[in-house]
């Protein structure tokens, strides 16, 4: 399917802001590694690209505007360090329909892969968008 590619700088400020928003949660200790937190800031940005108008533009412009975030997954493969520049590739990995209580539900699986300039994939994520 169609792919969308963008570049992200893993800046110290972006990581810090994300850490503060996520990490001030009492009861959860500080991260022992910057790995998921660092790239999660990019995962989130990628998710925003998908959900801001509730459709994975420009990949699936035909979908309506009633999508909701059904969940996601995160797969760290190697350490991501401050200052690294990553290329994110977004693709619609799968699409299927399930019966819901109020009618059919369209499920769209959006995959984001993050790679170094050398082409080494450091992480990927999946997001399940649900459309009525």
């Amino acid at each position: 399917m169609t792919e969308d590619s963008r570049y992200h700088e893993v800046s110290a400020l972006a990581v810090q802001r994300f850490e503060e928003a996520i990490g001030w949660r009492a009861g959860l200790p500080c991260a022992t590694t910057n790995l998921p937190i660092a790239f999660l800031s990019h995962v989130v940005r990628a998710a925003v690209d998908v959900t801001e108008d509730r459709r994975p533009e420009p990949l699936m412009p035909e979908l309506g505007a009633k999508g909701v975030n059904g969940g996601g997954s995160v797969h760290p493969l190697q350490a991501v360090r401050i200052g690294e520049r990553l290329e994110r590739v977004t693709e619609v990995e799968d699409r299927y329909t399930k019966a819901g209580a109020d009618g059919p539900l369209d499920f769209v699986v959006v995959k984001n892969s993050f790679a170094t300039p050398g082409g080494s994939v450091v992480a990927f994520s999946r997001m399940w968008m649900i459309y009525r």
């Binding site: 972006a14 802001r17 994300f18 503060e20 928003a21 996520i22 990490g23 001030w24 949660r25 009492a26 009861g27 959860l28 200790p29 991260a31 022992t32 590694t33 790995l35 998921p36 937190i37 999660l40 800031s41 995962v43 989130v44 940005r45 998710a47 925003v48 959900t51 801001e52 975030n69 059904g70 969940g71 996601g72 997954s73 995160v74 797969h75 760290p76 190697q78 350490a79 399940w128």
Partner: protein
């Protein structure tokens, strides 16, 4: 708070053979937190930081972001991994909305998973509020030394 939970559950992951469960009460999500998160992540959907807007759409209150909730489970996964295990993946399925002000409980269950490789372990993660289960997820680890 909760440090012993991560240590005990982490030890259970290393042991691999038995089943154990832990429960952790977490403070409610605050309006400041969702607003701060939206600013950090560049989220502009007011359903997360405008209570009146959310209520006009039929929600009980402002809704905690799905990606924020995934982030918390990633954080829990990191806490469970500690220095001795490698976090391979975190998955989160949203079962229902989590509202600002709701009390939250995180359940961690460690049990054998025959589908995984010999060095891999799984922890099930469930987030509940007073209204019921909000998120169901799991974290997969590799034991025997962190990467």
């Amino acid at each position: 708070m909760g440090t012993e939970v991560w240590q005990e559950a982490g030890s259970a992951l290393d042991a691999g053979g038995g089943k154990g469960s832990w429960s952790l009460a977490l403070p409610p999500v605050t309006m400041t937190q969702t607003a701060y998160y939206c600013a950090a992540a560049g989220v502009r959907d007011p359903i997360h930081y405008d209570r009146l807007f959310a209520r006009e759409l039929g929600f009980r209150d402002a809704v905690a972001n799905g990606s924020l909730r995934l982030g918390w489970l990633c954080y829990a996964g990191e806490a469970l991994a500690g220095p001795d295990r490698r976090l391979l993946s975190v998955r989160c399925q949203h079962r229902g909305p989590l509202y600002v002000g709701d009390d939250i409980r995180l359940e961690v269950v460690v049990e054998p998973s025959p589908k995984l490789d010999a060095r891999q372990r799984k922890a099930s993660l469930t987030v509940s509020s007073t209204a019921g289960v909000c998120d169901v997820g799991e974290a997969i680890f590799e034991t025997g030394g962190a990467a």
